[in-house]
């Protein structure tokens, strides 16, 4: 006679696996599969509902698009920091490289949008390999500084190479389209980005559960022993930089497509820090964490905006000038608080909540 808790745990939260193949599945438990299905259905319902004018409007979709673009770029940083253990302060610069490559391809050569995204990613990956070369000799903090220097050099190049990038005026882009279908409405762009985000998430997951990902993790945990067991550290570090920069480049190209322009302000140092904040707040070494981190960090300024405009309406119209500083205070504070009190990030909180609800009606499962 099986007890209720056994049946329950078998059906809903079984973490028991009987082969390596099962252990490496993307959705290991039924719990995760159900949640993923719920997400897909929710997105589908939202999209269908807004076609009839119910629910989300264009502004909401714009914020959704921001989240998805940031997600694609942040996954790259997660692979670099969380899985390979290489710190980068130049992620926004890689995004800038991608955005400008895509913008130039579209405006100068009339290249289709989807192809320009791919080329932007490859271009950024090339830059990533160049930045990654010093990682053979330097690591940790020194590498951080090297990527910081790269960030400043790229910023300078974008602003001052007038003939190519048109300086601070930026490059105007036409409305992106996909095989003749216009992505002019944020809603259409959202669907496109959602599919891409799922695709890139899947790609990242596959990287982490394959030989490459295991090599990354070995390098992160102890590079000397990784070298001893026969992992070519230099090659995998370069690969990590290239993949990370590829994601950033794709994110940058999509971001330029979202804004219909490539402007230098979007790829400055503070944005690199914001990406770092996304990965740290989400939790290092967990792809799910990146999703939480990106949603959280992208929504914070939006909510602050709401709060400040509310106070400005009720109390003092001049209050809006505090918005910029308040954002900085909140971002800085978030990084500090998460590192001090929750080093595992939101994913740590999530795991605690999940473990509680997995066995929810019961205090624990009898083994």
């Amino acid at each position: 006679m099986r007890s209720f808790s056994e049946i329950y745990s078998d059906y809903f939260s079984s973490t028991a696996v009987y082969s390596y193949r099962e252990d490496e599945r993307i959705f290991r438990t039924r719990f995760m599969r159900v949640w993923f299905l719920i997400l897909l259905i929710a997105v589908a319902i939202t999209l269908v509902a807004s076609m009839f004018g119910i629910g989300a409007n264009e502004y909401h979709y714009f914020i959704g698009n921001l989240i998805l673009v940031n997600l694609i770029a942040a996954i790259g940083l997660q692979l670099l920091i969380g899985f390979t253990g290489l710190l980068s302060l130049g992620h926004a610069a890689f995004m800038g490289v991608g955005a400008y490559t895509s913008a130039l391809l579209i405006t100068e050569f009339g290249c289709p949008f989807i192809l320009s995204i791919l080329v932007a990613g490859l271009m950024a990956a090339l830059f990533g390999i160049i930045v990654g070369i010093p990682s053979l000799r330097i690591k940790g903090f020194y590498l951080m500084v090297a990527t910081l220097a790269f960030q400043f050099v790229i910023e300078y190049t974008i602003i001052h190479w007038d003939n190519l990038t048109r300086g601070i005026r930026g490059i105007e882009l036409p409305t992106p389209d996909l095989f003749g279908i216009s992505l002019q409405k944020n809603q259409a762009y959202f669907l496109f980005l959602f599919v891409l985000a799922i695709f890139f998430m899947w790609g990242a997951k596959n990287i982490t559960r394959s030989k490459i990902g295991r090599a990354f993790i070995a390098i992160r945990d102890n590079d000397v022993s990784a070298e001893i067991i026969g992992i070519s550290i230099f090659r995998y570090k370069l690969l990590s930089f290239a993949i990370s920069a590829f994601y950033a480049g794709v994110g940058g190209a999509l971001f330029a497509g979202l804004l219909r322009t490539a402007i230098p302000e979007e790829y400055v140092f503070i944005n690199s820090i914001i990406f770092l904040a996304m990965v740290l707040v989400g939790g290092l070494g967990r792809l799910v964490g990146t999703v939480f981190g990106v949603i959280f960090v992208t929504l914070v300024p939006v909510l602050l905006d709401l709060l400040v405009s509310f106070i400005a309406r009720v109390y003092d119209p001049n209050f809006t000038m505090y918005l910029g500083p308040m954002k900085e205070v909140v971002f800085g504070g978030l990084i500090i608080l998460f590192i001090i009190f929750e080093p595992e990030g939101l994913v740590g909180v999530w795991i605690r909540i999940r473990d509680y609800f997995k066995i929810w009606p019961l205090p624990y499962i009898s083994e």
Partner: protein
């Protein structure tokens, strides 16, 4: 030729200020293996604290009161938990300190009317401003760095990144982001010899920075406290075994660092005006310490002078060739080259890790 000497001379004078910034980074790195990315914000903060005292800048009550309350909470906390004073001593002394700070911020110190002579006023306000900066530095260390003791140095470094943004936002909320005119009115010591002209302000900056640099070195190498700091940076565990309070040492190091950064900040503000956007100058310390070596105090001096000269040369010879603003990136390009050739800097400890 005259042009070159003139450029190099000006570069060296600015470079001495950068050397001071580098020193602040180096002593923190030696003590805790963490890099202080918030240096630019400490620089502005120190300058603002000095500005408040020197120019009698006051704040409206809704900004002064929270700051006073913050100081009160912090002082009571440190006295009660860290120094374990009695509750009846800790609370009132915190209250008094907070009230004093509130009074200074709200009513002002009225130094300009009390002391008419600018030089005397500078001599009074300078140490007071530095003291305030040192206290803020120790405050920041207690709140953000101390909880991280025992964790990896990289997490401390990332915390300082967040700290930079936090402090910058706070400064903007308190003092706004517009420029404040900054004129110290120090005695004119402009050197004019034949074709050379060195202005008074950079010379003062060089002299005061060098003086501070020297004082810090004397403190580190000729006093008991300095010995304790050096022992702690050599090996924290062993120093603690010998009875040195390593946590307190970290507090002192951060206070000294914030103090020196304030000196550099006041000198840099004196070149023009004081505003929040000036913080990027602080990041110039990164090439300085990486060129000199992260854990070498003498290296900071050499690195600072090299970066100052490099910047001046780029400004004088490369910018007219159409590379506008190249002055600001030239040190970083130099840094990249140094990282490729000698990652541990010119004088840093060579750590051989061949993986």
């Amino acid at each position: 030729m005259i042009d070159l000497v003139q450029t190099l001379g000006s570069g060296i004078l600015v470079g001495l200020v950068y050397a001071l910034l580098g020193l602040c980074i180096v002593i923190i790195f030696k003590a805790s293996e963490a890099f202080n990315f918030a240096i630019g914000e400490f620089l502005i903060l120190g300058s603002f604290l000095f500005y408040v005292l020197f120019f009698n800048e006051t704040l409206p009550w809704h900004r002064a009161l929270p700051l006073g309350a913050l100081i009160f909470l912090f002082f009571s906390y440190v006295l009660f938990f860290d120094i374990s004073a009695r509750f009846l001593i800790a609370l009132p002394s915190g209250l008094v300190t907070g009230f004093l700070i509130f009074c200074v911020l709200f009513f002002g110190l009225n130094l300009p009317s009390l002391v008419p002579s600018p030089l005397l006023r500078f001599i009074i306000a300078f140490p007071l401003g530095l003291l305030a900066a040192g206290i803020v530095g120790s405050m920041v260390e207690r709140i953000t760095i101390k909880p991280l003791l025992g964790r990896s140095p990289i997490s401390m470094t990332i915390v300082t990144l967040g700290l930079g943004f936090f402090l910058r936002g706070c400064i903007q909320l308190i003092w706004g982001s517009h420029a404040y005119p900054f004129f110290l009115d120090l005695p004119d010591i402009t050197i004019e010899m034949g074709d050379f002209l060195f202005l008074s302000d950079p010379i003062w900056a060089g002299i005061l920075s060098l003086l501070t640099f020297g004082l810090v070195i004397v403190f580190l190498f000729r006093t008991r406290w300095g010995l304790a700091i050096r022992a702690t940076s050599e090996d924290q565990a062993k120093a603690m075994a010998f009875g040195i309070n390593a946590r307190f040492i970290l507090l002192i190091v951060w206070a000294i660092s914030a103090l020196c950064i304030a000196v550099a900040g006041i000198m840099i503000s004196n070149f023009g005006a004081l505003q929040v956007g000036m913080g990027f100058v602080g990041l110039r310390a990164i090439p300085v310490v990486l060129i000199g070596g992260m854990d070498s105090i003498g290296g900071a001096l050499v690195g600072g002078v090299i970066v100052g000269m490099c910047e001046a040369l780029a400004g004088a010879y490369l910018e007219p060739m159409g590379l506008i603003g190249f002055k600001d990136v030239a040190p970083y390009i130099l840094l990249l080259i140094v990282l490729f050739i000698r990652p541990y800097g010119l004088f840093g400890t060579v750590r051989i890790e061949r993986v």
